[in-house]
Symmetry: C2
Subunit: 336 residues, 2 copies
Amino acid sequence: MIDPRVASGLRDLLPAVMIPRERILRTFRETFASFGFVPIETPHIERMEVLTGKGAGSDEVLRQIFEVTNKGGTPGELALRFDMTVPLARFIARHMDEVGVPFKRYAIGSVFRGERPAKGRFREFVQCDFDTIGTDSRLADAETAQIIYESLTAAEVPPFTLALNDRKILDGALEALGLTGKTDLVLRSLDKLNKIGRDGVLAELARPADSGGAGVSDEQAAGILDFAEGGRGKPDVLDAAEARFGSNERAARGIADLRTVIRLLEAGGVPADRIAVDLGLARGLDYYTGVVFETTVDGWERFGSVASGGRYDDLASLFTSRRLPGVGASIGLDRL
Amino acid sequence: MIDPRVASGLRDLLPAVMIPRERILRTFRETFASFGFVPIETPHIERMEVLTGKGAGSDEVLRQIFEVTNKGGTPGELALRFDMTVPLARFIARHMDEVGVPFKRYAIGSVFRGERPAKGRFREFVQCDFDTIGTDSRLADAETAQIIYESLTAAEVPPFTLALNDRKILDGALEALGLTGKTDLVLRSLDKLNKIGRDGVLAELARPADSGGAGVSDEQAAGILDFAEGGRGKPDVLDAAEARFGSNERAARGIADLRTVIRLLEAGGVPADRIAVDLGLARGLDYYTGVVFETTVDGWERFGSVASGGRYDDLASLFTSRRLPGVGASIGLDRL
């Protein structure tokens, strides 16, 4: 007799879980479509080269890739997708003449990561992605955040907060503090603020670069921490940021853009008490270049973001020479 | 620049294809649910042992299995599912105390087969399966066929014909013709009737067993061919089969059962002109033991069945000692 278990990190979903999931997915599809997004589907299996191209995924994600081989196939040639952004980039490079750009698409499907099961994470989970490709408009930025709000509300998710930032503000502040070139290290430390506390982050920032720190001065470290900690709250935290960093051109543009997005959101009917600003929010190191979003269920912040995304400058540079800016977000079905 | 193509046998689905697909899937879910079926989901990745257990899949299917490995994982341990029947068997063995039996479930998802791409087949395709586990009832048999009818009709599939058989009739006829023990070879030849014609099948049946034939006498070969060819048509072909093989106990039971199923279908509102009997229909060699279904779109028969299934005696014998008879069908979304 064969043991009917599934491999670690994988799951069977029983009717008690699946029935509400199908209801939620249906409201998501209806919401995405109501904003003019159309569905596409890409294969679960991609060519390895597509998934591992420079900048396609973080080192961590690439280490977790599942390779796929069949009898007679060449090992190392195929793999399971680890997200739906890289396949979207490949898709739009391949099909842009057929679908036209700007292109608003959604895609719902499983992605796969060979996490160490000990971490209690799933190796297969469902993402609900929607993106607007080929526009630099603030309206698309605001629409993306509004769709997060409308989707979660339609799915009857408990009260949640949509935190926004614009990466230009953060980058401008780092620039003004003389920290350009250390962005990655600083952001990596800032990301640990909730875990290791202010003093821990200060110590890490001050540690020399050759010991894995950012090697910044005490003054710089305090400056960036004050900026990140003081930058959490209602949209009026932007006023303080403007007073401090408004003379930096990049920061000033970011502040103006974020104010526009928030104005559009409020005008679009998203309640002000659902909107927060978090100037330390980066959402990954390299990828995003403009607005970024993160959504947490009130009181369940420690479970992480249920919907996040942002604006990128150039989606598909691995696959086409045409610059394709865009904005998008991903809702994690398994976190709802 | 990386070539944005997909590997051979895989596809991107553009909005023009996806929009009707999503509409169809929605009508399927609604139809399945209206008959009391609940959704489940199993992982795309199963343990290799589960997929390759004796009787889990045909040799052909097992040769096409996609193995899955991640860094640090053990090669040969995991694989992509090639259908949703084996995962259902594993699921019900594992969860029967939670979900209860009889259990009516549907599952919609991708399955993977490493077909040689030259054949023009897809290596990833979507199946829409529904099964009733844990009952020997004719009502479940008829309900399964009725759901095929209702689903395809709701999805506005062009006029189609639902061909039915009961494997007991075919097995009984082979028994009466003295062909027990040669069932596999005979059915394999019969399956080629459309391709190689009556004379081709006769020659193959008569060829000695050690040359890959069935080694049956001319009289036996003619008998089984007459049975299969004469057994295609409206339900009254059962009268001729009864006259010829009604004295065989197994065939007689099959004829009675199939008549009951057809009566139930017609009483349930399935138009008589959509129902056909095909006494040569086997749908695979070992698996089915009672009623079998196959559905073709009128005028497009050469593209094969769009929805098929049947009754099995014991679904999950690989995984549990509890006998679980059932009946189910699978609609091939990519064939609609």
